[in-house]
């Protein structure tokens, strides 16, 4: 079916064979899964890791002196080391397991923001942000009297270091910016932006939900203070995200949630809290999810994030070429600067859901709608887009089928 492309450093057939779902049909047609921006498919080693905890271990962590609990604890702690390694965390950096990238942003917004933001301080963000990296900042601004400021967007939502520099002021305390837009795939120059922010004395949080899943990332090179990402978008299970931060910053923040396992001592009326990561991991965590995320990291590392990014880049190029042939298509997003493997478009006046439904009927999974980015849709002056997003297992054939199916959309709605 699909063949290993000259542009792909790994054996595409073998990688595809790791994903049992790729042999499944959707609406009776072979599955072309192009909704990786929403979540990724899961390879066998990740499923196995999840099962093996549930079936063979099943115990809680940090709580028992018996062998099963010990094994769970060791696997859980190892997953944390893998998560840190995956993003090149320095020795003074820590990885907190959360339930999602969304929770991770909220921890920073509330645990850092509510403690350190003063009236008149500025939070700098952009209109391309996913709601997860926007609404928490709206709310913390409301609660603290800080102002939410926006970087001026260039054509198609492009963000340059210069546009960020122009928006920074001496009141800017934090810059909250995406590492890669989930609508257009655009990747702001994060390292440059961080340097500019730091020069102004502001800290930087990067929403890496798309970036970390699709590109090699090194937090020291990016020079960011916080980086959030989600397991489910990178071959991992649902229900686990990561908040990376420097330990000194994290330990200065209040907890967001309170309960067991995050305390040193508890009295009737007060408690003393542990340091990060425990301070932010109260309650029984998603143990199987964390362990399976560890397996996902190992899986991706073995193939190589560099090779994956390259594969997607070529698919993107090919798709842009092929989609240019489609009548009445409008493509969104800047095609200069670095872009990851995401394409947003509309087909004439056809509603995105209708495009999505027709594609579904052809076995093709895309996402339609506003992609949790309403302000960006408003900026673009549209109600939504159809989004095709690639990952390591996608093929040129997936792209060909997409193009053909768009012809079918035109037949139905032409």
């Amino acid at each position: 079916m699909s063949t290993t492309s000259a542009h792909t450093r790994y054996d595409l057939e073998r990688v595809r064979a790791d994903f049992p779902i790729l042999t499944r049909k959707m609406r009776g047609k072979p599955l072309a899964y192009l909704d990786n921006g929403a979540t990724s498919l899961k390879p066998r080693p990740v499923i196995d890791a999840e099962v093996s905890y549930l079936r063979d271990i099943s115990a809680n962590i940090h709580r028992g002196v018996y062998e099963l609990s010990e094994q769970a604890t060791v696997l859980y702690d190892e997953a944390r080391e893998k998560a840190k390694r995956f993003i090149g965390a320095p020795s003074d950096g820590e990885a907190v397991f959360t339930k999602s990238a969304t929770e991770a942003v909220n921890i920073v917004a509330f645990s850092w923001g509510r403690k350190f933001l003063k009236p008149g301080d500025e939070i700098l963000t952009t209109e391309v942000e996913h709601h997860a990296n926007l609404i928490p900042w709206q709310e913390v601004a409301r609660q603290t009297g800080a102002h939410l400021r926006f970087v001026e967007l260039g054509p198609g939502g492009i963000i340059t270091a210069a546009s960020v520099e122009a928006a920074l002021t001496e009141r800017t305390r934090i810059v909250a910016i995406t590492g890669m837009s989930n609508v257009t795939g655009f990747m702001p120059p994060v390292a440059q932006i961080s340097r500019l922010a730091h020069k102004r004395g502001a800290i930087v949080i990067v929403d890496g939900a798309q970036l970390v899943s699709h590109h090699p990332v090194n937090v020291e090179e990016l020079d960011v203070d916080f980086l959030v990402w989600s397991g489910h978008k990178m071959c991992g299970p649902t229900g686990v995200g990561v908040l990376y931060g420097r330990r000194a910053l994290l330990n200065n923040m209040d907890p967001l949630l309170y309960g067991g396992d995050m305390i040193v001592r508890v009295y009737r009326d007060r408690a003393e809290y542990k340091e990060a990561p425990d301070r932010f991991e109260t309650g029984t965590p998603n143990i199987s999810g964390v362990i399976a995320l560890g397996a996902a990291i190992e899986y991706l590392e073995e193939i190589g994030m560099e090779a994956i990014a390259e594969h997607e880049e070529h698919l993107l190029e090919y798709a842009l070429e092929r989609l240019a042939e489609v009548d009445g298509i409008t493509l969104y997003g800047p095609r200069e600067g670095r872009c990851g493997g995401i394409i947003s478009f509309n087909l004439g006046q056809v509603h995105t859901h209708d495009v999505g439904s027709v594609l579904d009927g052809e076995g093709i999974a895309v996402r339609t709608g506003f992609h949790c980015a309403q302000p960006f849709m408003r900026h673009l002056g549209i109600h939504g887009t159809v989004r095709a997003s690639f990952y390591l297992y996608n093929t040129r054939e997936d792209v060909d089928r997409l193009v053909t199916a768009l012809g079918r959309v035109q037949e139905v709605f032409g």
């Binding site: 609406r27 859901h353 009927g361 709608g369 506003f370 109600h383």
Partner: protein, 150 residues
């Protein structure tokens, strides 16, 4: 499976493309917005009533073909109906889409059968239902105004 047969039947597409009812009513007696936040469908439904019958109905807004076609059929169907008849119709459409019922539709509303295919696509049901849920709210208003006008 032929998607066209289930979801995008001719009647749906015709109703989607029809512009007959896609307008605001001037000084309408009743007006109600309906939104599906998860998909961005956003319509405004207008009704005129002489206290007993619905004398006119129209809508504006954005939505997918299912949403718009359903709203268009709704306007066609309820014009001339009494409030209680319209309420019954709302129930029948809901029954068809959410409880797998196969209702009989009154004369002039037979087009609505074409929506039945949507029931097989759970995430699209709310598209088809948006205008009907909005109508349901509006009818409550029509009723209470009729009462207070007595």
């Amino acid at each position: 499976m032929n998607l066209g047969d289930d979801l995008y039947r001719e009647i749906i597409l015709d109703n989607y493309k029809s512009t007959r009812n896609r307008r605001a009513l001037e000084s309408p007696a009743f007006r109600q917005e309906g939104v599906n936040p998860s998909c961005g469908d956003d319509i405004e439904l207008y009704l005129k009533s002489d206290g007993e019958q619905i004398t006119d109905a129209s809508f504006e807004g954005v939505g997918c073909s299912i949403c718009i076609a359903s709203a268009n059929m709704l306007c066609n169907a309820i014009k001339g109906m009494e409030v209680t008849q319209a309420e019954e119709l709302v129930e029948r459409v809901k029954g068809m889409l959410t409880r797998n019922e196969t209702p009989e539709f009154p004369d002039g509303a037979e087009d609505l059968e074409a929506i039945q295919g949507v029931a097989k696509y759970p995430v699209r049901i709310k598209c088809a239902l948006l205008s009907w849920n909005t109508l349901h709210q509006l009818l409550d208003e029509v009723r209470s105004q009729a009462r207070s006008g007595d």
